[in-house]
């Protein structure tokens, strides 16, 4: 029994290969029938390839700009989630897995996903220390966020005290982490203002350069 995803992909691949074979046969036939028409088919293929390269360059630029725009937003989400965590720990006396679960449910997605997976891992594996589980969660879920190394380091440092010491100490470390994240957020906003528009135009220009170089 094949799942629908791979089978459909295989089908589309097969279709593509068929199309390519058809195109090659077609162009060969044109070559045999007349030189001018064969040249036209090759030029058509070249044009399609150029359009694809241009499109992929533009999409790459837009993707980079999107990452740049998503980073301060996700940092803001993360700071708010840590504020909620502080409230849960200091005033709510909530156990850590439950607190993480609640925060994960309340936060928007890439950040919430991080907290939810940490809560799930914490619930299923008793006995492992919290900082190891936190570390695992960070290294697995970090790819899905647009955030970079400094904030990851700050969160990793936070993991060493989370759930270990008394309330005041944890609150202090949470405050410190939030301060670092706020500084990073300001830097990220600066970077977004500077480089977002640059990437948008640069992607398209790089695509055009590759097209002209290879045409």
């Amino acid at each position: 029994m094949r799942t629908p995803g791979p089978s459909s992909r295989a089908g589309s691949l097969g279709e593509e290969a068929d199309e390519q074979a058809e195109g090659a046969a077609d162009s060969r036939a044109r070559m045999q029938t007349g030189k001018g028409r064969g040249y036209g088919g090759a030029a058509m293929l070249k044009l399609i390839g150029a359009a694809l390269v241009l499109l992929s360059g533009a999409l790459f630029g837009y993707f980079q700009a999107g990452q740049l725009a998503a980073r301060p937003r996700q940092l803001n989400d993360l700071i708010r989630a840590l504020q909620r965590l502080e409230t849960e720990i200091v005033y709510g006396f909530t156990p850590l897995p439950e607190a993480l679960e609640r925060i994960g449910a309340a936060s928007p997605d890439p950040v919430g996903q991080l907290f939810r997976s940490a809560a799930a891992k914490l619930a299923e594996s008793r006995g492992r220390p919290v900082h190891q589980i936190w570390q695992d969660t960070l290294s697995q879920g970090w790819r899905h966020t647009a955030m970079k190394l400094p904030e990851r380091e700050a969160l990793r440092q936070l993991g060493f005290t989370l759930g270990l010491s008394d309330r005041e100490d944890q609150a202090k470390h949470l405050k410190l982490c939030m301060l670092q994240l706020e500084a990073e957020e300001r830097l990220a906003r600066d970077e977004q203002g500077k480089y977002e528009r640059m990437w948008r135009s640069l992607g398209l220009l790089l695509g055009a350069l590759v097209v002209i170089l290879m045409y």
Partner: protein
């Protein structure tokens, strides 16, 4: 003759695109990268020109040296 015109258009296109990339990078404050892009574009164009000159000299050799 046709090939020659194509090559000239290609070099002109590379020049325009490189100039635009240089402008964009310079506006955003990455002047060192802008200069690197210009240098790389120059080297690429130089390679193409050197290839054409090589063809030209070979042509001259075949004409005058009866190889």
């Amino acid at each position: 003759m046709n090939v020659d015109v194509n090559a000239i258009f290609q070099i002109a296109g590379i020049g325009i695109i490189i100039a635009m990339i240089h402008t964009v990078l310079k506006q955003m404050g990455k002047e060192d990268m802008a200069h690197w892009v210009t240098v790389i574009g120059f080297v690429v164009v130089l390679f193409m020109v050197v290839n054409m000159l090589d063809n030209l000299f070979k042509e001259i050799k075949t004409i005058f040296l009866f190889q």
